[in-house]
């Protein structure tokens, strides 16, 4: 085990990727994720890796497709407008079953939006973004330590299920500093990727990385096969944190930075005598439906309050999870405004009634 070091979120993420065996990074500068690129630019040449500043996010994601297809661990990072540009490539990557890690340090939108923290790319990340029948595994850390741990997991999940994985943070997580500890992981002996286009060496039949299947039945078969892998992901990879949900009258639902603030509000509300719990999704896709089942199984009447830095995106999944069995409320700030504990507390009081 290593020692704790104080690091900025974006840099810790980059270091975690390198420790996970990522030696290829393709990016294009955009605030507030630029430190990821800067860190890679500094480190990669020293360790025989590639840092390449592409001509656009479109090119960067296609470089990721090429390198991932060739079998190496590869990552790109960007922020909202850049992630929009990457959507074509992400769809192709999903369609060709190429593992890779895509980081979105979300900022306010739509359009050029702003550069302050936001969570308004939830729909884009979890409901498609690009065209076609596919999913991204979406990991949403709420501390720098978790960001580091999930970065290592992201590469493993991508390789295991042959799929693109997104780490979704926000400007707050990217910019703040916290002590982190890097786990010692041995990446010297990763399983071989027999499907990779690394040259036949005249020893095997050729490999093809491709998402074009002109025969409808062939395409359907492939999409169905991929769906089975998605089902495995749903079975094995759901992650969440649930605190005090069983006895609660009000259950907050929040992820990332917002979850930290929501926890502060929860503590205050408890002091005032409210019975409050929290569900913090760590995987946004697959969404942790089971956390809601557990919370609802206790039988008492509950209200779920989705707190987001958006106009209400995750709340749609909360409604799906609750499926009419409890009230669902929403509180959000957007455009780069971070909700305060006080605001969230006020909403709790509004729901719970004055005490």
């Amino acid at each position: 085990m290593g020692n704790k070091v104080l690091m900025k979120g974006n840099e810790a993420l980059a270091e975690a990727a390198i420790r996970a065996g990522c030696r290829h990074f393709f990016g294009y500068p955009i605030t507030p994720q630029t430190e990821v690129s800067a860190y890679m630019a500094k480190k990669m040449p020293k360790i025989g890796g590639t840092f390449l500043q592409a001509e656009s996010e479109v090119s960067a994601i296609n470089m990721v497709y090429g390198a991932g297809g060739a079998g190496v661990r590869v990552m790109t990072s960007s922020s909202s407008p850049g992630i929009s540009l990457k959507q074509e490539g992400i769809s192709y990557i999903a369609g060709a079953d190429v593992p890779c890690v895509i980081v979105n340090i979300v900022r306010g939108g739509p359009g050029l939006g702003g550069i302050q923290p936001a969570q308004s790319d939830y729909f884009q990340a979890t409901k498609g973004g690009g065209h076609g029948d596919y999913h991204l595994v979406v990991l949403a850390p709420s501390s720098i330590q978790e960001m580091v741990d999930l970065t290592a997991d992201a590469f493993d999940i991508g390789d295991k299920y042959r799929c693109p994985v997104m780490i979704m943070g926000d400007g707050m997580l990217g910019q703040m500093m916290e002590p982190v500890e890097f786990k010692d992981t041995d990446v010297s002996d990763l399983p071989e990727k027999e499907w990779a286009t690394s040259g036949t060496g005249m020893k095997r039949k050729k490999n093809i990385i491709n998402s074009l299947f002109i025969e409808a039945s062939e395409l359907e078969d492939l999409v169905l096969e991929r769906q089975q892998r998605y089902d495995e992901i749903i079975k094995n990879e759901v992650r969440y944190e649930a605190i005090d949900t069983e006895g609660a009258d009000i259950i907050l639902v929040a992820y990332g930075t917002t979850a930290r603030i929501a926890k502060t509000a929860m503590a205050k509300a408890k002091e005032l005598g409210y019975k409050v719990g929290i569900i913090r999704p760590i995987t946004l896709w697959p969404f942790p439906f089971e956390a809601f089942e557990k919370a609802l199984s206790s039988g008492t009447k509950k209200t779920f309050l989705s707190v987001e830095m958006s106009m209400g995106q995750m709340v749609e999944d909360v409604r799906l999870a609750v499926n009419g069995r409890a009230d669902v409320e929403f509180f959000g700030r957007t455009g780069g405004i971070v909700p305060t504990p006080k605001e969230i507390l006020a909403k709790i009081v509004e729901i719970g009634g004055a005490k």
């Binding site: 290829h24 090119s59 090429g66 297809g69 060739a70 690394s198 990385i209 491709n210 074009l212």
Partner: protein
């Protein structure tokens, strides 16, 4: 009896989907012959475009990746950076390379990325049924320039080889065609030189093949080559536009 003409090993044993008389097939064969002669099939990764040659991944025996429309140079860059000791080539049409993928094309060349591009300039979008391409000539009739390409409103055709030759990154750029046996031999020599440049680590190499599209031009293969000689070659002159090994000497 000795076999004097056979399928190159690097060309897969499947039939092409190309229209009769389409030069795509000729150029595929030349690329495969070069791969054979250089003995690099096991070390080569090809990148197919979106265009009529989208199925190129079925036609070459080496490992292949299929890129999104215009993105082949970026995909090739990713592969080459992952596997610097391997040979990486793209095969692209004019719409792919000089319209939707212009940024990728210019920057792969500017970086001097050590990959090879085979560029088929048939002055039209073949696959989608004959629309105007960035290389469509002034006055040329296509589905989307039904009155002939009007330079005032539809812009000017791009001379890709000349444009890229202004950059410092490329090592080798030549424009060839495949209408006659001497031209085919010249084209093969150019393709071989382009791959050799990559093997020698010289940087980006591109061979532009002035080509035809009999189907969408509405001509026979023979008429197409005549039309190409009369109209395309004056605008797209054959020749070497960049050769750093000459400059080095």
């Amino acid at each position: 009896m000795e076999k004097v003409f056979k399928r190159p090993h690097a060309l897969s044993d499947v039939s092409f989907h190309y229209c009769p008389g389409c030069p795509h097939g000729i150029v595929h064969r030349l690329v495969a012959e070069v791969i054979d002669e250089l003995g690099i099939e096991g070390d080569t990764i090809g990148v197919a475009p979106v265009g009529c040659s989208v199925f190129a991944y079925n036609y070459f025996e080496c490992d292949m990746q299929e890129a999104a429309h215009g993105r082949a140079p970026a995909v090739a860059t990713g592969i080459k950076r992952a596997l610097p000791d391997k040979v990486v080539f793209t095969y692209q049409g004019d719409g792919d390379l000089a319209a939707i993928g212009t940024a990728e094309t210019v920057h792969v060349a500017a970086r001097g990325e050590n990959v090879t591009t085979i560029f088929i300039n048939n002055a039209i979008y073949g696959m989608t049924g004959g629309q105007m391409a960035p290389t469509t000539l002034a006055g040329q009739v296509t589905q989307t320039s039904p009155y002939g390409r009007d330079i005032k409103t539809q812009g000017n055709p791009i001379r890709v080889s000349e444009m890229l030759a202004t950059l410092d990154g490329p090592a080798y750029i030549e424009r060839v065609t495949v209408d006659t046996v001497p031209h085919i031999k010249q084209a093969k020599a150019a393709i071989k030189k382009a791959f050799q440049m990559q093997l020698d680590g010289k940087g980006f190499s591109l061979v532009e093949v002035v080509s035809t599209c009999p189907t969408n031009w509405g001509m026979s293969p023979q008429e197409s080559f005549e039309w190409m000689r009369e109209n395309m070659l004056p605008h797209y002159p054959l020749g070497v536009y960049k050769d750093i090994t000459k400059e080095e000497n």
